[in-house]
């Protein structure tokens, strides 16, 4: 199982690198789709069918939005001259990556080995969840019952984002 997920994650890394370096913006968007749909397969292998269903719908909608934006603006990316500012951002990114690598090295030892963890606080969610929530799906039980306020907050964020999109698309820009 670990090998299969490693291979798919490797494909995701290749797709991500291509998406970042492609000259054509439309192919960059499609390469971003590679990463998203590989994530769906990873979710299925990791026994998370709810996440797979949601991710496949959301990824499709995201791709449609991105393709619409690319077709409405420009497909060509301007050629990036490698000047002083380019060197500065490259050095900055390497610096940040080294720092994050150091912290990951420290923290990866405190993680459980892959596939050998144990239920911590979800133990009380799993025990007798069907009687408590009336839902056979434990994820639904957690989202809508044990953590209902989280879901309320999520709905608030969604409404705010939709209002933001409506406002931004409607106003006329100043000349």
């Amino acid at each position: 199982m670990e090998i299969a997920i490693s291979v798919i994650t490797g494909f995701m890394i290749i797709g991500a690198l291509y998406a970042i370096h492609a000259r054509d913006l439309l192919s960059a968007v499609i390469a971003c789709g590679i990463v998203g749909y590989s994530l769906v397969i990873c979710f299925l292998l990791l026994k998370a069918p709810d996440l797979a269903i949601v991710q496949i719908v959301i990824e499709t909608i995201t791709l449609i939005i991105m393709v619409a934006v690319v077709l409405d603006s420009t497909r060509e990316e301007k050629y990036q001259k490698f000047d002083r500012q380019g060197y500065f951002t490259a050095i900055l990114s390497i610096l940040i990556i080294v720092v994050l690598f150091y912290f990951m090295m420290n923290s990866v030892s405190s993680l459980d080995p892959f596939g050998e963890g144990k239920l911590r606080m979800a133990q009380s969610y799993v025990e007798g969840a069907t009687e408590k929530t009336g839902s056979a799906n434990l994820v639904t039980g957690v989202v809508f019952d044990f953590r209902g306020y989280d879901t309320l907050g999520e709905a608030t964020v969604l409404v705010t984002a939709v209002l933001g999109v409506l406002t931004i698309m409607r106003i006329k820009g100043k000349k």
Partner: protein, 112 residues
């Protein structure tokens, strides 16, 4: 253990894209790649070898389920990711209509 490292490298690829790219759509793509790696990490932490998907079958009770809590958290995060991406894309299309370019260095009016 190597899966965690690959997942982390995917996050770093997204971070590299956000810092070094100049095209706004590339930056949005890099942000969503970082999002994907975080989702994958949560799903990896919640997986147990030999566990089954967290759906209870009353006729056939199973001992070990996969952890439902990270899955519930990721379910929330995926939907919010769509909302933020849509907002970002709306801002990008407005910027293109005003300045005629997606390159962040050519958007001169934003300079202080």
């Amino acid at each position: 253990m190597i899966v965690y490292w690959l997942c982390f490298i995917l996050f770093l690829v997204g971070l590299y894209g956000v810092i070094t790219r100049r095209n706004l759509i590339k930056i949005a793509i890099s942000l969503s790649i970082m999002e994907f790696s975080t989702f994958l990490f949560f799903a990896l932490v919640g997986y147990f070898e030999g566990g089954v998907a967290p759906i209870v079958d009353p006729a056939d009770p199973v001992k070990l389920y996969v952890d439902p809590l990270p899955q519930a958290l990721v379910l929330t995060a995926i939907v919010i990711g769509l909302a933020t991406t849509a907002l970002l894309m709306a801002v990008i299309i407005r910027i293109y209509r005003k300045y005629g370019s997606l390159d962040i260095r050519e958007i001169k009016n934003l300079r202080g």
